[in-house]
Symmetry: C2
Subunit: 461 residues, 2 copies
């Protein structure tokens, strides 16, 4: 609420004959202006929309401001990538190829189309087909500002207020904010070391059916590769089962239930066999939406992501994308297309994985050394991605209002409270958890951060 | 609507005990799968949200596909910029400065913040202060993907379904789509050669008051510099009056009525005195939102725009921006900051203006030659921007369903039907109008396009 703005000047030259207030009383502007009322006037509401209010207070804002306000903290919270590994040389090489050419440079500097740069989409299409998704066509490829924008546009396209999305417990907390932003409800489904558990997914569906809420389910959200926040991956059979359940339930409720497969971390695999995209389980291309990005494997600053979307979502999602930004920056897309067509990505990713392997080893070794001796503290060993998920003794509240977060900050280390990663409904919120990232910090800082964290845990447990 | 998807496989290994449909009948999945029903099953709805449906069918999509499907057309429709003038050399110069530096390049390739690159925002702040908006502070500067995204985020932040925005008749048609996308209503206010007429604005308010709709008004949208589509500008006095009316009416209705000043074309001024931003009329910084962009004066492919927003909108707009894309691509922002701090923009704009002056002259000369002889055909002479607005005889329907658009396409020329630029409510829709752009085509093509257009008009008038 803001105070009423003083009327600073006359509307010289105009007869204001329009001031009939809705309460029926007559306003007399000229006398009011000459003799402003002495008593305080009614405050003017800021007039924020419901959407504007729903967007407020996402946890990421609080975490970012904590980190910004305390630059000396060792932040194991940020999902940022390792700065020293960012691709200066490959970017320069790709840039010089098209920037030295008068026509190619100007094509990149001009407007593009809403769906994105065709050459880039064709490269992504070829990769999807190599992966086994042979039925995908070029019109299903949409370029976005990172995979996060794809998730946002998808949420806008399919979710009305009160609609439900089933997601893992824990899940990517920014997506929970996206759902809250459109007024949708998230329901958590239990996970184990192989991600979302299909039996729990079916139990959740049954529970929703009992409450007459299954008809509001619009999507199942999975992060099947080295997920954010737990670092675990879903085997192919689980992904396939999720797709089959979505298809079956679509028939039951009479509307399409999408499987949103967030594959942002797919490229950051440090060990194990590769698993094809969830897309290959969607035989008729009607239910799976894949979100991908070059942010983690190349550069978040260039910020090019993409979606592979079922045909029935192409028009609404492109229309929404058009309304949001007319399409992602053409220059960034030409740059990424050049990086890919010159074969500059693969060698970069190889060296990047080596960096992250070392950081992962540093974090796991420090965990073993400092957290291992603590009772009832356990963690998963990720095969890829940027995160280690920590479970503390049941009675420790690692949440934003618990004493551990404050204690950790006092000691100089920051983490993401696991509580942020749980939906309000469904599987129980585990306040005794946290997400640790080994992306940004040096191996030395990772070790020191874990040491401080162990000290904080000891002091509150 | 899509046909029901066949159940392609068993859910091997799981007992599906959850299939209790909401209509209460029991499903028997295994027998159904073994003996698929011969009769057609119920179709599955696509499940598109209301937002997704509202986004559909914006005119820009139709126009773009018309142009793409007919590459030989002389398009006087697209609001694109002149390709040959795009800044290859200044961009290379700015890029090399930070890309040659390992640390600066990696800072640009890393994530940025939601509100945007501080150096860039400080440059924009200094310009706003030089302009006379001395009370603006750095937190009011938000970097967006073009000015259009600023308009989108603002609409999301302040407009609930049924809310009303007053805009010029004609106005920027993409913004009408943005309003429709959030379920808001646009009301058109009459214009003359100096843009929105304050007396008509007051008449519109009175009309809304009569209908008990004034309480739904949330904003007044103006494009005060060389507007899209009419090419006319509002003198300072008119801008000031609009701000004063918005402030007065805010008090009357008890909520903030914003003045949205879309200043996208400000840099493209070819003659006349410069007028300060509408921001300078907002003495306490509570009502005016300015949208700006480097798309028209530098490069739409880099796609950096900005907003200067009142303090009460900072939090909801930043939160929404965070949900949409976490902030605009950091790389583009570092590039633009470098362009500005090296002083590369001003000389580029000077040469750009010379190019557009010639194109404007070509269009006006062709209009004089080919349209001048036609009865009741008239146009405004723009002092800047990219557009010439044409009015035809009253009975000519230049709209998407009229015969002229088809006739023009058959002859080989495309325009934007003026009808798209009118709100559904308020001032009368003028179907006998069109927007012509001199941005993209060569002087020769502009002349030929106008010649063909005159032929089309003659054949239907």
């Amino acid at each position: 609420m803001k105070p009423m703005r003083p009327r600073t000047s006359e509307l010289g030259g105009f007869t204001d004959h329009t001031l009939l207030p809705i309460d029926g009383t007559m306003d007399q502007p000229s006398s009011t202006e000459l003799n402003p009322p002495a008593q305080p006037t009614a405050p003017i509401d800021d007039g924020i929309s419901q959407r504007g209010r729903q967007a407020a207070g996402q946890p990421i804002s609080k975490l970012m401001s904590l980190a910004l306000d305390n630059p000396s903290l060792i932040s194991l919270a940020a999902g940022f990538v390792d700065k020293g590994s960012l691709p200066q040389v490959p970017t320069q090489q790709a840039l010089s190829t098209f920037m030295d050419d008068p026509d190619a440079s100007r094509t990149a500097l001009q407007y593009g189309t809403t769906f994105g740069h065709t050459e880039l989409r064709e490269i992504l299409l070829a990769e999807a087909r190599e992966d086994g998704a042979t039925n995908v066509s070029i019109d299903q490829l949409l370029i976005t500002a990172g995979s996060n924008q794809l998730l946002h546009i998808l949420a806008e396209s399919i979710l009305d207020p009160g609609d439900i999305v089933l997601c893992a417990a824990p899940t990517y907390f920014v997506f929970l904010g996206t759902l809250a932003g459109v007024g949708a409800e998230a329901w958590g489904v239990e996970t184990d070391a192989q991600g979302m558990i299909p039996e729990s997914l079916m139990d959740t569906w049954q529970e929703l059916n009992k409450r007459d809420l299954a008809r509001r389910v619009k999507a199942i959200y999975i992060v099947p590769y080295f997920d954010n926040p737990r670092g675990v991956s879903m085997p192919a059979e689980r992904r396939q089962k999720v797709v089959e359940l979505a298809d079956r339930w679509s028939s039951d409720v009479g509307h399409r239930i999408s499987v949103i497969s967030d594959e942002a971390y797919r490229g950051l695999q440090y060990e194990g066999d590769s698993v094809p995209s969830t897309l290959v389980h969607d035989e008729d291309g009607s239910s799976v939406v894949v979100a991908g990005t070059f942010s983690k494997v190349f550069s978040p600053g260039i910020r090019v992501g993409w979606g592979i979307i079922p045909k029935h979502l192409v028009t609404p999602m492109c229309d929404l994308k058009g309304n949001i930004d007319f399409g992602s920056p053409n220059f960034s897309q030409h740059l990424m297309a050049e990086v890919l067509s010159q074969g500059l990505l693969a060698p970069h990713v190889e060296s990047l994985k080596q960096t992250y392997r070392e950081k992962r080893a540093a974090m796991l070794a420090a965990a073993e050394e400092f957290l291992g001796p603590l009772a009832e503290v356990e963690w998963d060993r990720p095969h890829g991605g940027l995160y280690v998920w920590l479970r503390l003794p049941e009675m420790v509240d690692a949440g934003p209002d618990g004493s551990l977060l404050q204690r950790a900050q006092d000691l100089g280390v920051l983490y993401v409270p696991g509580q942020y990663c749980f939906a309000a409904n469904g599987a129980k919120v585990q306040r005794n958890t946290m997400r640790l990232s080994f992306g940004v910090q040096s191996c030395e800082n990772i070790r020191e951060g874990i040491r401080l964290l162990a000290e904080a845990i000891r002091s509150v447990a």
